[in-house]
Each structure stands twice: as structure tokens, then as C-alpha cells.
């Protein structure tokens, strides 16, 4: 079909069908809320002017007078200053604030506006992954708005959340009053309020979780564990409690108990990159090989748009591979290593660690091939040399160490590791005194503070 004919068809279809108004329909705020919003201040932070304007427009349609909405697009510091100056009731900020995360901004906002029924915090995020959106369960965030947005997604998310806050239930009010004291670090009053909140069924699990947090602030770990356990007993689906409880148990080296809670946690909520390391370590500590094998299948599917997350995942796969090699599971171990390089293709540390695991488990040739294949990664020659040395060292290929080791004198290595490997191997192989002395002198010159001996 010719292009013109096809376009004509599209045009006629456009005219005949018309648009479905519903998907762009914006909710109408209630009169009560419109009235309430007249006295509110707002602050919008985003680098892109279209996003800022759209968010400000959404706020104005909610009844916030235009002159009460400030707009900021500067640095992280500019936002902090603007936030402290304006003390806005409603804050809409981007997920990535000038290269930094939003947590500190949220803390400042909560301190400035501790009555959270009167204040709101929204995130605008270019990272539209589930992993990013789950941040709403880590903090008391009112909304996570994905970019690209539509007028419907932006306005309605804000309207729905603010409407819910404008008519709070009794438990909401009680919980909010207790949390306000917690935010203001008045832990004695917060403790009393959360203790009485425990009388209400709806609040029991969350109130007990906060009592645990207050105990932790006081340094009473045993009491905190007791409260978290109680909170878990009342609800095994309290995200905040599950996350804090399993972490505290792990910190206390109670690996068996921590494993159980963590298992409940990852069975209830989608596993996220930030919890992968903890999950792997607990599986290892409890010798759960099945979990490790399952994780090696899951981790590659968790690939995120954030490279930082992908690096965490890749590091996790290396730990899994190491364990699987030790258990004699070659095939899944090799697959894990392959996947780890795919997740973090530009990270010399991942390349090095992955190659070391391969070399230590009889796959020196593979490690060298991978290293050479990845020689295009932006890394200094000295790092390449160091990885080569490590591969040969872990596969006990001493001849090659002595061969390439001569190059370390001309290389600007970051640490003394290459020299140490060379000297250790040279001793074992009874290399000529002159060659050893040259490397030893070089090591002493480059690392005068270290006690490097032969």
C-alpha cells in the first residue's frame, strides 16, 4: 500500500471515530477542598519547564492561588533554601534533585510541616519502574507521578490524595498526631501517643512498629525487637515493619529469624534491588541453596533503568555464582556470571570480581577471554593489568604472572596488590634476585608507607 493511501485511511479514521473524552477526564475537586486549598502554599521543583508549568497548573486547578505557588529549578541547595523560606504545605519535587535523592528534602519538609494531614509530598519520576515506585512504601509519600505524564495522571493523582487527606478518619487523626510528635523528635510524647494508638485495631501494627523505632532511637535494641515482633504478629503485611524487623535481626546476627521475616517480606512484596544483597546473605547464612538458585533466575529480570541498581544486582549475582561454584553447581554459576556482566557492562569492579570468581573455579580461559572482550571499558591500563594478575593468581598460573608482572614497574597501579602478588609468586618460583629486587624497589618507591617485603 502506498504511503499516501495509508495516511488517507488514517485521516478518515480519525475523523470518523472522534476521541474518547474519558481517558483525559480530570476529577473535579470538592468544594470543601477548594476552600481549604485557598490558604495553602506550594512549591514545585523540576528541571524541565513544561513539567513545572503542568504541576503548577494542576495546583491552581485545585484552588491554590497562583501567587501562592513557587517554582524552583536550580540546584539542590537552591531547593533547600527555597523550601526553608517558603515552608510550603504542598511540595512537588523530582525524584532526582540535581543528582541527589529526595530523602533529605522530605525530612526537611516533614520537620517544617509536621502535621502531615495538612501537608503533602509528591514525587515526579522519570524512572517509571516498579522498583522506583515502591519507594512509596518506604516513606510517607503522598504520590509518585510518572513521567511521561498526562493531565489525567498528574491532576488526578494530586486530587485523589489531597481529597483523602481533607476528610481523615479517626484512626488517621490519632496516628497523625502521634507521628507528628515523632517527626518533631518528642519521643516521650510520641511514645505515649503510639501506646494509646495500640488500643485501636486499625493502628496496632503501625503503632507497635513506631514504638520499636522509638526504642531504637533510645538504643534499646531488645525492646525494639520485641515491638517489631508484636507489630509483625498483628500484621504480617506491614511493609515498614517487615523491612525494619528483618534488617535489625540480621544486624543482631540472628540469621535464622531474620531469614524467616525476610522470606515473608519478599513473598509479600515484589523484591527490589535494594533488598537483594540482604536476601542473598540470609540465604547463604542459612544454607538455602534453592533460594540462591531461584535468585539467580530472578535477579536478571530486576534490571532497572538505574545503573546504580543494576550494579547492586550484578554484585549480588557474583556472590551467588561464588556459592554455586562451591556447591558444584557449575551451570547456574556460569549463567550468573554471564548475567552479571550483562547487568553492569561498564564497571571494572564487576568485571574484576566476576573474572576472579571464574578464575578461582577453573575457568581461567573464560575469564581472560571476557577481560579481553571488555578491554574497551573505560579503565586505566593499570586496572586491566591488575585484573589480569588477579585472574592468573586465582587460577595459580604463576608463569603468566611472572611474564606480565614485569609491566607493573611502568604501570601506575592504585594499590600495592600487583606488586604483592608478583613478589609472592616470585618467591614460590624462585625467580632471579635481580628481577625480584627491581619490583621490590619499585613497590617501596610507590608505596613508601606500606611494609612490602619479599
Amino acid at each position: 500500500m502506498s504511503k499516501n493511501k495509508k495516511l488517507q485511511q488514517i485521516e478518515s479514521k480519525t475523523q470518523s471515530e472522534g476521541t474518547d473524552e474519558n481517558i483525559f477526564k480530570i476529577l473535579t475537586p470538592s468544594k470543601k477542598m477548594l476552600e481549604k486549598m485557598k490558604a495553602k502554599r506550594a512549591l514545585v521543583y523540576h528541571k524541565n519547564s513544561t513539567v513545572r508549568v503542568a504541576a503548577a497548573r494542576a495546583l491552581s486547578e485545585l484552588g491554590i492561588p497562583t501567587q501562592m505557588t513557587s517554582i524552583c529549578s536550580g540546584s539542590y541547595q537552591d531547593l533547600k533554601e527555597e523550601l526553608e523560606k517558603e515552608a510550603p504545605d504542598i511540595l512537588i519535587v523530582s525524584n532526582d534533585i540535581d543528582g541527589q535523592t529526595f530523602e533529605e528534602i522530605l525530612t526537611i519538609h516533614e520537620k517544617l510541616k509536621s502535621d502531615r494531614l495538612e501537608a503533602s509530598f509528591f514525587l515526579l519520576s522519570e524512572d517509571g519502574s516498579l522498583s522506583a515506585a515502591l519507594v512509596q512504601l518506604d516513606y510517607f509519600i503522598d504520590g509518585f507521578i510518572v513521567i511521561p505524564f498526562t493531565s489525567q495522571t498528574l491532576n488526578n493523582t494530586i486530587i485523589e490524595r489531597l481529597e483523602a487527606k481533607s476528610s481523615p478518619s479517626k484512626p488517621d487523626r490519632i496516628f497523625n498526631a502521634a507521628r507528628e510528635k515523632f517527626i518533631l523528635e518528642d519521643y516521650i510524647e510520641a511514645y505515649n501517643l503510639f501506646e494509646s494508638a495500640c488500643q485501636m485495631d486499625e493502628l496496632q501494627s503501625m503503632a507497635l512498629y513506631f514504638l520499636g523505632k522509638i526504642s531504637l532511637k533510645k538504643g534499646d535494641v531488645d525492646k525494639a525487637l520485641e515491638y517489631f515482633a508484636d507489630s509483625y504478629k498483628h500484621s504480617d503485611e506491614n511493609y515498614m515493619c517487615l523491612a525494619a524487623y528483618s534488617k535489625l535481626l540480621m544486624d543482631q546476627k540472628k540469621f535464622k529469624e531474620s531469614y524467616e521475616i525476610n522470606k515473608k517480606f519478599i513473598d509479600t512484596f515484589p523484591i527490589r534491588p535494594k533488598f537483594v544483597r540482604q536476601t542473598i546473605l540470609l540465604a547463604l547464612a542459612n544454607h538455602k541453596q534453592d533460594d540462591i538458585e531461584e535468585l539467580t533466575e530472578i535477579i536478571p529480570t530486576l534490571r532497572s533503568v538505574s545503573q546504580e541498581n543494576n550494579n547492586i544486582l550484578a554484585a549480588g549475582l557474583i556472590i551467588c555464582a561464588k556459592y554455586l561454584f562451591e556447591g558444584g553447581c557449575e551451570k547456574p554459576a556460569l549463567k550468573s556470571i554471564r548475567n552479571c556482566f550483562a547487568l553492569a557492562p561498564d564497571r571494572p569492579q564487576i568485571l574484576e570480581e566476576g573474572c576472579i570468581v571464574l578464575a578461582s573455579n577453573g575457568h581461567q580461559k573464560k575469564a581472560i577471554t571476557i577481560l579481553e572482550k571488555n578491554s574497551g571499558i573505560k579503565m586505566p591500563k593499570s586496572v586491566f593489568l591488575q585484573i589480569q594478575m588477579e585472574i592468573y593468581y586465582h587460577s595459580e598460573d604463576y608463569d603468566n604472572i611472572l611474564k606480565i608482572g614485569q609491566n607493573i614497574i611502568n604501570a601506575q597501579t592504585n594499590g600495592s596488590r600487583c606488586h604483592r602478588i608478583f613478589l609472592e609468586v616470585a618467591g614460590k618460583m624462585k625467580l632471579g634476585e635481580n628481577q625480584i629486587q627491581r619490583v621490590l624497589d619499585d613497590a617501596k618507591k610507590k608505596f613508601p608507607d606500606e611494609n612490602i617485603t619479599y
Binding site: L7, T50, G128, L137, F144, F149
Partner: protein
């Protein structure tokens, strides 16, 4: 273990400037900002278009593994959505001087397919709105 794929709904957008004969086919060139009823707001490299230029956009759902070396012919990419439009507003980006934000009004497009695409983003947002700390 409960897990859901993190690599979720995303589109890769190609742009051909029909007025100047140039095109943007690299994955990083076009970023989606806002999906409108009869248009779109995108971020593109500076000097890639001016107001009133006619453009053709091609929306491709990710993951898409094939390499694209030229702007595809209509119907060439399975599931790709092709739309024609005109540049309405251009705003320079103060944070990234090498880019501009461009608002495009659609002139020829398949309404149903466009609304399906928009609905998928709305549905994603609706799902995310359900993720909230519960008391």
C-alpha cells in the same frame, strides 16, 4: 519469592523532520514528557526542529532489540505507532542547554491507537497509586 519485572512500560520514539529531511533515531535522542489528547511534549537535541516544521513520530514499545539505522517505512515496525504532527512550541531547557522541549500538535494519527498508548500509561499510574503505606 514474589517478583515483578522492573523493566516495564516504556517507549522509544523516533522523529523525522519532514520539513528539513533530518531524523532522530538514537534511543537517547527523544524523551517523552507529556502525552496530550492530540499531541505530545518531548525533549530533543537543540536545532533538530523549529516552530511550524512538520514531523513524523514513530512510537515503539520497549524492549525492542533490533538496531534502527534509518527512519522506518510505514508499517515496517510491528506494533510501531506512526503519527504526523506540527511543531507548536519550542522551549529551551535551562538545565541541559544542548536540548529543547518541543510541543507537537498531531495532524494525522490513528486516534484509537494513540489512546491505547496513553491509556497504558494511565493504567500504570493507577497501579502505582495503589502502592501506599497502609495503616
Amino acid at each position: 519469592m514474589k517478583f515483578e519485572k522492573m523493566s516495564d512500560l516504556r517507549h522509544f520514539v523516533l522523529l523525522r523532520n519532514d520539513s528539513s529531511g533530518t531524523f532522530l533515531i538514537s534511543r537517547q535522542d527523544v524523551q517523552l514528557v507529556e502525552l496530550k489528547k492530540e499531541g505530545v511534549v518531548i525533549i530533543v537535541p537543540k536545532n533538530s526542529c523549529v516552530v511550524s516544521h512538520n514531523v513524523t513520530l514513530c512510537f515503539i514499545k520497549l524492549p525492542f532489540k533490533e538496531a534502527i539505522k534509518q527512519f522506518p517505512l510505514p508499517g515496517k515496525i510491528k506494533g510501531g505507532l506512526e503519527i504526523m504532527g506540527r511543531i507548536k512550541i519550542i522551549t529551551p531547557n535551562e538545565d541541559a542547554a544542548e536540548t529543547i522541549t518541543v510541543e507537537i500538535d498531531y495532524t494525522q494519527y490513528d486516534v484509537q491507537n494513540w489512546e491505547t498508548l496513553v491509556e497504558s500509561y494511565i493504567s500504570k499510574q493507577t497501579n502505582f497509586n495503589k502502592l501506599k503505606v497502609k495503616l
